[in-house]
């Protein structure tokens, strides 16, 4: 990737910590839920260097793994990195120790939602919630409705307006949603954690 600019802030200053004083509960839970043992990470940074989105992250993926090992649970739960991660698995496929880092990020997102922590990229959470509301209603995603409600939620009316209009003009956004007939089966699926909590 010789064309990319040198990245600033690849290693932000870390707070002083005393690892022995922490109980690292998040670490154990992440390992169990993700089924991924990242003890063999030796901080080679292949994941951070290959990640297409690392510029927008507050910590590169390898640092998130290290923070988990140091017991910086709150900092991990509230970081942007886990939300910027789009799950493209570039890191996982480049890791010389075959650690599924993207899988760990996925588990961290689930845990952040379940624990109700402050989400560092609330607009991304809003977007996913709008997608699910649409799927709950119709059984399928209705993109025009999702974008409309997402704009309503985030109040970013005029950002990106021209793209939406171009898509409408090309009839890429259907006005009417396509629906599942057995909608009761879909409703039953939504009797779930996301809708009803623990």
């Amino acid at each position: 990737m010789s064309q990319t600019q040198p990245k600033e802030k690849i290693d932000p200053p870390m707070p002083a910590i005393t690892p022995g004083e922490r109980n690292r509960t998040l670490l154990a839970e992440v390992k169990e839920r993700s089924g991924t043992n990242f003890s063999r990470c030796y901080q080679c940074r292949a994941c951070g260097n290959g990640c297409p989105f690392v510029q927008a992250m507050d910590y590169p993926p390898n640092v998130v793994l290290r923070m988990l090992q140091y017991g910086l649970d709150r900092e991990v739960m509230e970081c942007k990195t886990i939300w910027i991660c789009a799950g493209c698995h570039t890191c996982s496929s480049q890791c010389p120790m075959a650690i599924d880092i993207a899988g760990v990020m996925g588990t961290l997102r689930l845990l952040a939602v379940e624990r109700g922590v402050a989400i560092a990229k609330p607009n991304i959470l809003d977007f996913h919630e709008e997608v699910l509301r649409s799927v709950e209603r119709y059984g399928r995603a209705h993109k025009l409705g999702i974008m409309w409600r997402y704009k309503l939620q985030t109040r970013r009316w005029f950002s990106d307006m021209d793209t939406g209009l171009k898509m409408l003009a090309k009839r890429k956004l259907e006005l009417r949603p396509s629906r599942v007939k057995a909608i009761k089966e879909i409703e039953d699926l939504f009797k779930c954690y996301w809708r009803e909590g623990k």
Binding site: Q3, T4, P52, F53, Q55, A56, I84, A86, G87, C88, H89, T90, S92, S93, A98, D100, A102, G103, G106, R109, L110, V113, K121, N123, I124, F127, H128, E129, V131, L132, V135, G139, R140, A141, K143, M147, Y150, S159, D160, T163, K166, M167, K170, R171, K172, L173, E174, S178, V180, K181, A182, E185, I186, D188, L189, F190, C192, Y193, W194
Partner: protein
């Protein structure tokens, strides 16, 4: 299409193919019909769950994908074109194999079997497995002169929990060079297109998309051919480079080579009009 034996497959379109990428769906159906591949849409399918369910609720994500599996009749493979749908359907099947209790519970809930040995494959796999001979005997327009970048995006072969499944590396080149086109090397063929970040953080995605398109321009390609409907959309709507290349769905180029005549309906839906390029190469009138 007379002597050709017809082969039946179940087909899961997914939300993108059914709406924003309707041109990909139409051209794939056309190509399949010409090749004698009978894609039978799953009756009353639902959204595969997508990254949104996967992000917010594991059980919901599993249930959404599993319901689709419960709709697939036994005895014929289930085909998907969208790589993410394919991934989530396969992932759900893998989860159900590991967890017989949930498998039984879902089967009872819907009173339908969820076959764990159901084969779930990408349309590319169908072509390579059953279609190569059929391709040669059905070419109507040679793609000679068309220099393309095979853009796979991230999902077709990346997910590690599916690493035992078939890789599709090289298959688009395989098929399109049989049809006369020329594959170009040196561009970013597997770089992630930005996925849902294109909707939430477009300013982050635009430079990445530009890098992908610019790398194709530098490799002297005429166009990019994608295996994924979301990639196709993101590469079109987020490219702000001066030189924009047409972004084709793989199925469009395929159907064109097989002699489809309804291409106008697909190409008017593109944000970067591919018709001048195709006219220049005398592929369309």
């Amino acid at each position: 299409m007379s002597a050709q034996q017809h082969l039946d497959f179940s087909y899961f379109p997914g939300c993108s193919m059914a709406t924003t990428a309707a041109e990909s769906n139409a051209s794939m159906m056309k190509a399949a019909r010409i090749l004698g591949l009978n894609l039978i849409e799953l009756e009353d399918w639902n959204c595969c769950g997508s990254s949104s369910a996967q992000t917010l609720c594991e059980n919901l994500a599993l249930g959404m994908a599993a319901r689709n599996l419960s709709l697939a009749p036994a005895g014929r493979p289930l085909v998907a074109m969208c790589p993410r749908c394919l991934h989530y359907l396969r992932h759900a099947q893998a989860c159900l194999r590991k967890d017989p209790e949930i498998h039984r519970e879902l089967e009872e809930r819907w009173a339908r079997p969820i076959p764990l040995d159901l084969e779930i494959i990408h349309f590319l796999e169908v072509l390579v497995r059953y279609g190569l001979d059929r391709l040669k005997s059905n070419v109507k327009r040679s793609l000679k002169g068309l220099r393309f970048v095979p853009y796979y995006g991230c999902t077709v072969f990346r997910p590690p929990d599916l690493e035992r499944d078939k890789y599709f590396q090289g298959e688009m080149e395989h098929v399109l060079t049989v049809l006369g086109a020329e594959s170009v090397v040196g561009a970013y063929t597997h770089r992630c297109c930005g996925s849902f970040l294109s909707a939430t953080d477009p300013e982050l995605v635009a430079p990445l998309v530009n890098e992908i398109v610019d790398s194709s321009v530098m490799a002297k390609a005429h166009c990019l051919v994608t295996a994924c409907a979301m990639c196709q959309l993101n590469l079109e709507i987020r490219c702000s480079s001066q030189v924009k290349l047409p972004i084709f769905h793989f199925s469009e180029i395929l159907a064109l080579a097989l002699g489809a005549e309804d291409y106008e309906d697909w190409f008017v839906r593109h944000l970067v009009d591919p018709r001048p390029l195709l006219q220049e190469l005398a592929l369309v009138a």
